[in-house]
Amino acid sequence: MNTQASSRGSESRAQIIAELAQLDAVLPRQAPLLQFVHQNTLHGFQHLPFEQALDEFKALTGICAYLPEHQSRIFYQQNRITDDDLDNALARLTDLQPEQAICQLGEKVITRKDLYKIALLFNLDGISISQLNWNTNELNAISTLQPDIPPAIREQLLMEELHQNVLVEQLWKCLLNKLDLQPAVLHPETLWDLTLEQAEEWLETYQALTSAHESLKGIQSSESKVLDDLFSQFGNKTTLRGIMLKLSGIDILDSIRPQLIRICASVLDEGVATWPIPERNELGFYNAWRSLIKYDANPFLHELHDWQQITNELPEDPIDTIILQLTQLEIPKDQWIGYLRRLALELPGWSGLINWRQHHPHYITNKDAVPKLADYLAIRLTLDRLWLNQICMDTWKTPAKVSSLRTYFRKNLAEFTVRRYLYQGDLPEYLTQLAESLAISVDPDRQNRADWQQLADLIWTWQCSPMAEQNTEHSAHKSGWRLFRLCQHLGLTAIKLQAATKADLLAMLNVLDGFNVTERSKIWLYAYEINYRDRLFHTLRANHNRGRWAKREHRSDAQLIFCMDNREESFRRQLEELNPNIETLGTAGFFGIAMNFGTVPAQPQQIFTDSEQANHIAGFLKYMGLTSGFSTFIVLMERDSISQNNPHLTAYQCAACGGQQSGGNAKAFAAMANRNEVRQLLIEQGITIPNDTWFIGAEHNTGSKALTWYDLPEMPSEQLTHFKNLQQTLRHAQQLSAHEQCRKFASVPKNSLSQKTLVPIGERSVDFSQTQPEFGHATNAAALVGRRALTQGAFFDRRLFLISYDPTQDPDGKILEDLLLLAGPVCAGINLEYYFSTVNNERLGCGSKVIHNITGFFGVMEGVCSDLRSGLTQQMIETHEAMRLQLIVEAKTLVLERIYAEQASLRELISGGWLHLSAKDPDSDELFIFEPNKGFVRWQVAHKKVHIYDSSPGYYQNQTLPVAPVLKTSKQRGM
């Protein structure tokens, strides 16, 4: 018997442990702030297609991860999304059947697309009765045309009927007639004094029932169904805390949160507190707390029920505690994991960090207790039980157990009704007042069933009346109002509408219902992306054969190798504008090789053998296609960022390698590449570097704009003069690129193009009052893997990750495969984190910096007692454009198709639509878009003239919004 019980016990233990590990998928995976790495915020849903992932995420958390519609409508007004883009986007969703006709009114055929377009651009939602009253009485909605009707349609409508008031009024009446609707213009308080006739009439009209008895019966039975539903939602949908909130208006989390956060922060603390929990490392998270709870006066002061018993019987093992508390609360066993997931998601930041620590047991911190999610949940459940018991005992004299609560409310259905409606918050005022005073005065010692019953009767009556926002099929303020606005936008008058039947109108409503906010948001996102993609592709196509360095036919003045970071696009372009004889390259390699080999030490020869060094160098150069045509100077330019007073500093630094600076890799690389021994070995690998070529390590700080050079004294003296010239040019480029950045900063003067501009920009990084030191990766939109020739000579507004790759040197695509495996997930991670932090900064980002409070050296809270905030700050995403990454690869489609078929990690991203893959043919100006179910499809858009500007500043001057890619005049060598 005992063994059976214990085996059952260990079974559920193992099950809980296994299922807690699954929570990793739904919790934020952000590391402690100093280890910041960009990643897909919805990482746990990445195995699903993008749209489905967003739907499932919304179902789980209630968070909508599309840009709010009003924001997209602003883009439309700014002409950043055009009608063509919307048409293209609509055509992509074939389920929507845009061309299908709904009805024919005279010669006018109304198609689904007509409705879609209007629904996208204008709000066609139903309104409340009070809003309808307001619209009718104060805004004259029934006598004037809606204010947002476009002028052309307004004119057309007025042509048919001169008198606007007649026109609109007839339309309204005609619609109500056709739909058999009554305009309800009553005040809710008329219910207070109801004549018998009125009541009977309502019953007939709205309930289609003849007697009050029947109607009451119906409501009562539906009410007990609501009760059963609510109590069967435990687990996946709600916790007991949620039910208490719904039935007593008390949020136990308000009492629990401070205690929970205090203990979590103390355990995770990396050095803010001088007094750590005694024996934290020996006891671990849960037991450290268990040893403290005995001394805690909170349960006594809060007059909690049975607290001594509950705290005394706590098992030593957190999993046992979880099982014990779940059993005590009587959560159905099949709902346990759902229940735990809900609990974890109530404070996602804290659960997420604890989960991260659990999965990174070797995380180096001065405190080495490894906290586990089970510890956290055991504590949470125990506190929950203590406080839930208090509410339940004080209010209903029953313990906090699912079955006793359910029994209580089954017996007291009236009380259930009143409480439910009261805390739901949509009762009319006269009922709210009554319900509140009853709920406040409730005392379990006093019998007041009759009071509850009477109030429930009132609420049920209100529910039957037309004043309640009930689920009746049609009403004037819902379907009537929606069609009223729709018809005006369609340019329909009452006369034209005569031909329509009720079925036609209902069909229209049906189409609108199907085209809900999620569908609309998808269309907006597609259109937004198509708009940018097409402009980008037009520029790339027009730039074909224009850019330099497709082949290195003459020797360049210098070759500068930058990080692929989108911030460097501007610097590189400005540099090339100043001296067309400079070649720039972009690499994913600084961190790539660091990842493969660990951070390279300052004295590489002490660790790596000569041939290892040669292999590093050869690999690095081959990845970029830089195997011949070496210049006199090859500058390896790392990137870093510095700013003051910025808890999120690491998010501006190298985003792919955990906020670490590249760690002096460039310096070590240059040292290796300059060694004669290494160069000899490189010749054997087919890479001949001329004797007068000198490698220089340097660092570009995108925060302070400073350039730092390494090991200059070792440079051969005869090259110094040339090098001085190069430095001069770079300084100039620094100024220009700073100037370019200025255009989006609100607080920087935009007009002067001089040395002065560099000063305020650089100063931001040392100014501790500055919350926006630089733009980071904001506005990133595409990654281009290919030769610089593709992009050289065009303006991309710092929106492109540029990764150098030469398809002509990689016929089988082996290098490309490695590059994509490396750069694809990194760019997608950055892009997606920016996307999600932008579309919903409150829930998926970490909100404004100004109220952040550094906690335990691992994160930030708002104030002293909030959830830990993860994601990007509001200041970081302020200028960002939320769209998915366009990954454009200069390669033959066959090569890409093979890589797609072989690499599952890339396939997940591409087929799921987490990024858009396209190919630029290396030999022609053709572009191909990859569609997951069709393969590569040629991009066939008619040629459009792309503007050509003399210089970058000439184009972006006085623009504060993102600008489209354009071409620049091609300057010849020596100009």
Partner: protein, 519 residues
């Protein structure tokens, strides 16, 4: 020259008015006008600073009178309150220092708050606060100081509420606001006592009159103001409100709870130095409360894991020391301490966000006294000695229960006596009634002849009822059903009253009533 003092609080006040009206009317509302708002606030506050430092300069050259009279605000028989300002001494030093710190914080906020939704609101409140603080410091009489005291408190409330869509922020702001009302009550009491016993509310007069006060009178006045000071400066047992105030933006945390407003309590005590010197009991209280707060803040501060909480307890600890110094008679030292602390704390609050990167690789030393191993000590520190919960337990909950019972009394007894309008004939308010009516059942009122509510109504009803009853009894002569019901109801009511009366809160009230009657 002395008259310039009026402009010191007035300029920021004008700024607040302009920004406020600008927001209402709409010309200061969007991002484009942010720089205008910021400039208005910054310029007026820096002008205040310039004026204050000029006055301070002339004061150091002994060219100032000690106060400047603007006019009379209120006079009634022998009560008269002037509008006057102090133009001399420590007040002027503090005015200069605070206006300088405010200017610095305002300057930082221009960048810090850029493009925030609450930008204009923030600068409006900060300008208003700047003005209130100057009024608090410079006003020559207790009433003016009290105005400044109140407005500053209100501004603090507004900025804790900066993100008013966050529920936690609103709860905390309200908590802070309510706690501070205790101090206000004591302040008002202090003003009245000064007026009654010293017959003046002017700070300079109060100082001179102090010598003539009896020890009892001086103690009364000193204790009232000391209490006000303890609340404002977050001394034990009021310290917890300070942590709750950390919801707003970092610059507002700096000015209110780090650098400026939090010091007003100490300043108030310093103003009343002669009165305190006359009241040994009050001096003792300063020592005790200051000492306890210092110890409390130190112990609690050790276990805090976020930077703002740590700074808050460091601040309250330092303030405790200042009160301790005052209590021991080191007035001058306390004043120096105040100024130095204001400067240091401005810096530490403003640079709080960089803590992580400053101490990276240089961990803070771990406390290792014997006490550190004691779990009970750790728990007490982590739970901040349960001060919040204790207040809740001793004050809030009993009062809430009392209110609860009073409301029950209201609903069930007073309302029944007063009566409510009866529904019109033949109307219903619920479907249940409709059903009843349709079935034709008036079962409930089967033995009721008429129905009404309210006292007058009941009397009429009673009269009619009794006649009817008499008739019934006369005719039927039997015992009616209602007699039994009535008897049972009476019994239940008697039981209820007995239960109610035996509850501790009522016993306390009875005792209080008896005591108050006895006196």
């Amino acid at each position: 020259m002395n008259s310039l003092v009026v402009l010191i609080p007035l300029l920021p006040f004008i700024a607040a008015i302009i920004i406020g009206i600008g927001q209402l009317v709409g010309f200061l509302r969007d991002e484009d006008s942010e720089s205008t708002t910021a400039l208005i606030a910054l310029w007026t506050t820096s002008m205040s600073f310039l004026l204050a430092s000029t006055l301070l300069g002339t004061d150091l050259l002994h060219k100032n009178a000690s106060s400047f009279l603007v006019g009379q605000w209120l006079s009634s028989e022998n009560l008269s309150i002037d509008i006057n300002f102090i133009t001399h001494g420590f007040s002027l030093v503090l005015s200069t220092l605070f206006s300088l710190l405010l200017t610095i914080v305002l300057y930082c906020s221009i960048n810090y708050m850029l493009r925030e939704t609450g930008f204009h609101r923030f600068f409006f409140v900060l300008s208003l606060f700047s003005s209130a603080m100057q009024l608090l410091i410079l006003s020559g009489n207790a009433v003016g100081t009290f105005f400044g005291w109140e407005i500053a408190g209100l501004c603090s409330y507004f900025l804790i509420l900066y993100t008013y869509n966050r529920a936690v922020a609103t709860i905390n702001a309200t908590h802070v606001f309510v706690t501070n009302r205790i101090g206000d009550a004591c302040f008002i009491l202090g003003i009245s006592l000064s007026y009654t016993w010293a017959e003046t509310t002017h700070w300079p007069n109060l100082k001179t009159v102090a010598a003539q006060l009896t020890t009892g009178e001086a103690t009364g006045i000193a204790l009232s103001f000391a209490m006000a000071a303890f609340v404002k400066s977050a001394q034990f047992p009021f310290t917890p409100w300070l942590v709750r105030a950390m919801e707003g933006p970092t610059p507002s945390n700096t000015v209110f709870y780090g650098a400026i407003m939090i010091h007003s309590g100490v300043y108030l005590v310093c103003l009343l130095e002669p009165v305190f010197e006359k009241a040994p009991l009050a001096m003792g209280l300063l020592v005790i409360i200051g000492g306890i707060t210092t110890l409390y803040s130190y112990l609690v501060g050790l276990t805090q894991t976020d930077i703002k909480s740590r700074l808050v307890f460091a601040t309250s600890g330092q303030l405790g020391l200042m009160f301790l110094e005052c209590g021991l008679g080191f007035w001058q030292f306390a004043k120096w301490h105040l100024c130095a602390h204001a400067i240091i704390r401005t810096y530490s609050f403003l640079t709080a966000p960089s803590l992580m990167h400053i101490v990276y690789g240089k961990p803070i030393a771990i406390a290792r006294p014997a006490l550190a191993k004691q779990r009970w000590a750790y728990t007490a520190s982590l739970q901040r000695f349960w001060l919040d919960q204790l207040t809740d337990w001793t004050l809030i909950r009993p009062i809430r229960r009392l209110a609860h019972d009073l409301s029950y009394f209201d609903d069930h007894i007073v309302d029944h006596l007063a009566g409510i309008p009866a529904p019109a004939i033949n109307t219903i308010s619920s479907l249940a009634e409709l059903e009843e009516k349709l079935i034709g059942g008036h079962l409930d009122h089967s033995d009721q002849f008429s129905y009404s509510s309210g006292v007058i109504g009941k009397i009429t009803e009673l009269f009619a009822g009794h006649t009817h009853w008499f008739e019934n009894r006369f005719v039927l002569g039997g015992l009616s059903k209602s007699t039994i019901t009535l008897g049972r109801k009476l019994g239940q009511a008697a039981n209820k009253i007995e239960l109610l009366v035996l509850r501790p809160r009522y016993l306390v009230i009875f005792v209080l009533i008896t005591l108050s009657l006895a006196f």
